[in-house]
């Protein structure tokens, strides 16, 4: 059974008289432990697909299952629990809580999960070091650069080791070194903990890391191919 199963998903947006196809009869099967990049021009449906799988948006038709459970049938509280315990999000616009420090932002999800303060502290310290933000734990988002904020957002998404990470342009605003470190970390999580990654990106350097590339255009999948991703044996 696939970890993620999407069947004939449709999502349409209305702008006045015009109908914009966010997702147009999209079907997709994703195995646990996949490392997938979504590519395509702006408005192709990448973000819509990520939002639908993550339960952030509803479909007009079709169904989504994660580990056999229908996401489209869950209520608000169940969806919240799904996102909390099983999915890590990296949004296009970082989206940090402005009144919390970098460390507190990273610990936020763990705190809602009920993880103890000591464990939260330990994990957040480790991840801050990994993303190169040691010494900046107590800074608030307004005191961080765009790239630093992005790293905090990524750290928040992966610190609780979710089963699925949905990342929308996670490497925007990152320099090459930071990008390489981040993707390497993603790959490690994928390899060691079988975390499934679905990354929407324009960045060709990021696409090289994927085992599978899915191209989208006008709400449809135009190409779906396997490749030897960077950081995997045989790449």
């Amino acid at each position: 059974m696939s970890a993620i199963s999407c069947i004939d998903m449709c999502k349409y947006y209305r702008q006045g008289d015009a109908v914009i196809k966010g997702l147009d009869h999209v079907s997709l099967e994703i195995d646990q432990g996949s490392f997938i990049c979504l590519s395509g021009p702006s408005g192709s449906g990448k973000t819509t697909l990520l939002n639908a799988i993550g339960g952030l948006d509803t479909l007009d038709s079709g169904q989504i299952s994660i580990d056999g459970e229908r996401v489209d049938l869950l209520d608000k509280a169940e969806l919240a629990d799904l996102r909390l315990f099983h999915i890590g999000f990296v949004f296009q616009a970082y989206n940090l809580i402005p009144v919390l420090s970098a460390r507190e932002n990273i610990e936020f999800v763990m705190q809602v999960q009920g993880v103890s303060a000591a464990v939260r502290r330990q994990r957040s310290s480790e991840i801050l070091k990994e993303v190169g933000l040691e010494g900046m734990e107590d800074r608030r988002p307004a005191q961080l650069s765009g790239g630093q904020q992005q790293r905090v957002a990524v750290a928040r998404a992966i610190v609780s080791q979710p089963k699925l990470v949905l990342a929308d342009e996670p490497t925007a605003n990152l320099d090459s070194n930071s990008m390489e470190r981040l993707m390497s970390r993603f790959r490690e999580l994928n390899r060691v903990h079988k975390v499934t990654f679905l990354i929407a990106t324009h960045d060709h350097r990021v696409m090289q890391w994927a085992d599978r590339r899915i191209s989208m255009e006008d709400g449809r999948i135009t190409r779906d191919e396997l490749q030897a991703g960077k950081g995997t044996p045989g790449a």
Partner: protein
Amino acid sequence: MAMPFSGLSLLAWRNLWRNYRRTLIMLLAITVGVWSMIFMTALLRGMVDNMVRQGITALPGHVQIHAAGFRDDPSVAHRLTRPAGALATVLDSEMVTAWASRIKVPAVISSEQDNRGVVLLGVDPVDEVSLGFVLDDITQGRYLSSSDDPGIVIGQKLLQRLETRLGKRVVVMSQDPENAIAERGFRVVGVFRAELESREESIVFAGREIIQDMLGIGSDVSEIAVLGKHYRTPESLVTAIREAVPADEEVLSWLQLDPFLSSMLKVMDGFVLVWMVVIFMALSFGLVNTLMMAIFERVREIGLMRALGMRPSAIVYQILVESLMLLGLGLLAGNVLALATIIWLADGIDVSGVAKGMEMMGASSMMYPVMEWPDLVLANLVVIVLGIITSLLPAWRATQYRPVEALGKT
């Protein structure tokens, strides 16, 4: 999953101060609202308390015992024997702070120049002082020294009306049990002032034994006035006394003897609650507006928290905690300010400019704030309970945003 309270509190506290100007303005509004609730209530309570005490202390007491028919015909024909047996036991018990038996009959007092209808009180001065008569009220001469003191003490206003003065003689005339005229001459040994001028004109004090002798009624009395622990709770005292006296004797609390005062008290209790609710209703518009604005500014953030897995109920709790913090700070400041004002004005506010109007209501021209702990608790409860209710709408509104829409807001 719900975020622990410590996390919610931290988030709520920091969000409260994101727009510190708006928060401070709202805090000021809550502080002033709470201050006015507590202080104005204390002032009103003091006024009513003063009215009630003026009305019942010193003379009527909390409970009165009369012979049947006395209230309809307060003459010497309706008399009581002096307390003995079971009644004496009750009057000696812890339920009773003080008691006094007295003669109370209508009479006419005449000087060389004029005469007036008065209520003649034959008293034991020691008992009357313990019941509440204040010796400082004597402005000229002295009060009675004993129950067989041959002198008379009259009010300042009556002294003026009779065009007499301290040391002069007056004649007091009443009716004895056989309806014959009973009269006696007295020397004015003392003059008293009262908060109410009407009392100064209508009441005269003489020794109880002297009046008993003048009326030929032996040791009988007209009424027994009893002071309990608190004027608000005379019922238990009434019950105890009723069980100790013959069935034909009338035992009534001040609530029954003075229905006007009694209703004033009930109206006051209701008014206090209405006053507090009205104040809070005015405050609540500001509170709702403040919270709605705060939520409107944080739509994206709320969407983010939902996206990260925070349940809608946790969003509601966070907003409510934020609201409670705001209310809590306002309550603290308002309570402190109100208590400080009450302490500062403990010596009273002089409203003698409207003394006549106050006297018509039975209140004195000095207003003393009286804070009762139930009022303080009520004010705080009203703010907290109504505050939570008022905050529910903005909190619910916060959960209605779909995460994907909220995240897209700028």
